[in-house]
Amino acid sequence: MRLPNLSTLINAAGPFFGLLAVIAFFSLDPDVRQSFLTGGNFKIILTQTVIVAIAAIGMTLIIVSGGIDLSVGSVVALTSVVAARLLSLDNPCSPLLVTSLTILTGAFIGMVNGCIIAGIRMMPFIVTLGMMGIARGTAKWLGDSQTVNVPNLPAHQEAVAPLLKLMAMQRPFEFLPVPLGVWITLLLAAGMALVLRQTVFGRHLFAIGSNEATARLCGIRVQWRKVMIYAIGGAFAGLAGLMQFSRLNQGDPTVAIGLELDIIAAVVIGGASLSGGTGSILGSMIGALIMAVLRNGSNQMDWPTYRQEIIIGCVIIFAVALDRWRQSRARRNPSAPS
């Protein structure tokens, strides 16, 4: 086991400087700086990033392996409803059971995606586009087309309490303690980064994304791996759904519409290519942070919504264009072997 090597760090550095630039930009105005550059605000930003970041971990695996998952937003909504429903049963499930069942629901949907993609060899874009509607519809169905609130009874509230802690913010004006969800995200990101870089499974992912035919030739069970990858991605979406539930204290079947595009944007800003074979968890996390900082900063600058949308759009294009340019330059002046 070794720390990620130099070239990985340099690759992640691009998005990282982007993040610094965005933070610096919002700190220019002294009025805004006062409230923007505070521990409390960064706690808020981190908390707001959790959902996108957790889902982005799974999406990174999927994109690295050359796929894409458009159903993530719907799965987040569905699993948040599932969590709320489980907690609203006459005998509410224990928090641990809710957590596992929610994640399993996500994993199950991911697995269905993976099975169709691997089994019928269909484009992931289409399969997950279809699943996007199916999961959203199922969420509405389970939620009876409404938000699901946990009943205000002692037994139920007791079961909910630990889950609500996941995203609960204490001491708003200090950085610590950061909500549990942030630590979980960090832990999972670190873990999956290791898996991606340092294990055979991670290598297989890169191999499949880089050239599927070769991966098959090298004895990788490509179809199985795909099922696994989408299931893992779904599990992360499920966990994100749990966080969403914890944040809203309700299951909302209409939440997270279009979230998949934010997640994909985060992964791509973080240096992944949609044609597969490149990408890193660290980059995706930074990408997710960039988006959250932009949103937070625009609110603090009192920018109208439209300006925020335009700027985020420009940042997406610009970040990826920069990345392309950096890479083409790197190819022209290859650095010494690391």
Binding site: T38, I44, Q146, T147, P172, L248, N299, D302, P304
Partner: protein, 316 residues
């Protein structure tokens, strides 16, 4: 499924489509309860009626709501009760339906047309004024205030926002607005993010906050609690009686709620339409009332029923 079907006793059964703006918020659930209440009463009184409750595929998409109206028109239902997502966009389909012999009752939000049977709604502007005046009173006429708007292009909330702002400028000129151009967006999550970010910037200065409907009201209270400013440090007036908001009011995290009477709105919407179909004259504008609810009056039986409408009685 059938436009007019003869029931056992030979009377025609009326099919009425009720089209809300969306389905997820409790407000619409109460409207549905009101419509169902009307359905039950009418059926009991010997006027067979069937209510079809149908929200648009994506909430807040005007074109998709138009499609729902058109499709019901093609189905030749006996009448439509509609909460238009937009006062202008729904004009043509409503006029088409009227022309095609499908009368339409408008509820909740206005429509820029006169070819409907009746407009059954809260006076939203007045609701906003109530909120503005109450906040002014809470702050003794001075202080800094935040308005977190709902979403782009929503007529009813814009009327509330306008009423609120007018009340402040006309009657409480010393109150300063810190921010009035941020939108909460359609879901509780988007509203929560916007609230957190706004409070982080202005939380120290703000004295009062107004939110014009359910999602931002709940989300802003959550953000205030996060910040430790709930319970009166920052006075907050919200809108609509979401069960969470009612709880917040009870806990003192909210100082006041402006509530409408959605059950009545749904009920009157259907009743008015049926009366029209039976050939009786109906009022062109029916106000279903707004009420300012504070901790002091929330136990009054009348208000209590508004806050906890007996929904389950009507929805199976």
């Amino acid at each position: 499924r059938q436009q007019t079907e003869d029931t056992a006793d030979g009377r025609k059964r009326l099919t009425i489509a009720v089209i809300p703006k969306g389905t997820t918020h409790e407000f619409w659930r109460s409207i549905e309860a009101g419509a169902r209440k009307a359905e039950q009463e009418l059926n009991a009184s010997g006027t067979p009626v069937q209510i079809i409750w149908k929200g648009p595929l994506r909430e807040d998409d005007r074109d998709l709501q138009i499609q729902v109206v058109e499709n019901f028109m093609a189905r030749k239902v006996d009448g439509i009760v509609l909460a238009p997502l937009d006062s202008q966009a729904l004009v043509a389909p409503v006029e088409n339906a009227t022309k095609a012999g499908v009368p339409v009752v408008i509820m909740d939000s206005d429509l820029k047309s006169d070819q409907y049977v009746s407009f059954v709604a809260t006076d939203n502007y007045k609701g906003g004024q109530l909120a503005g005046d109450h906040l002014g009173k809470l702050l003794n006429g001075t202080g800094d205030v935040i308005l977190l708007r709902y979403a782009v292009g929503s007529a009813s909330t814009e009327a509330r926002e306008a009423g609120f702002l007018d009340a402040l400028t006309n009657r409480h000129p010393a109150i300063k607005l810190l921010s009035d151009d941020q939108h909460a967006g359609p879901t509780r999550e988007t509203a929560y993010q916007a609230s957190q970010n706004l409070l982080n910037r202005y939380g120290a200065e703000a004295d009062g906050i107004f939110c014009p409907c359910e999602p931002p009201t709940i989300a802003m209270a959550m953000a205030l609690r996060d910040l430790g400013k709930a319970g009166g440090a920052i006075k907050m007036v919200g809108f609509d009686a979401g069960s969470k908001s009612v709880e917040d009011l009870k806990n003192g995290d909210l100082q006041a709620l402006v509530v409408q009477d959605p059950v009545r709105m749904g009920y009157l919407g259907v009743m008015t339409l049926v009366e029209h179909l039976q050939g009786k004259p109906v009022e062109k504008r029916i106000d279903t009332g707004v009420h300012l609810v504070t901790r002091d009056n929330m136990e009054d039986p009348e208000i209590s029923e508004l806050l906890n409408p007996p929904i389950d009685q009507y929805l199976k």
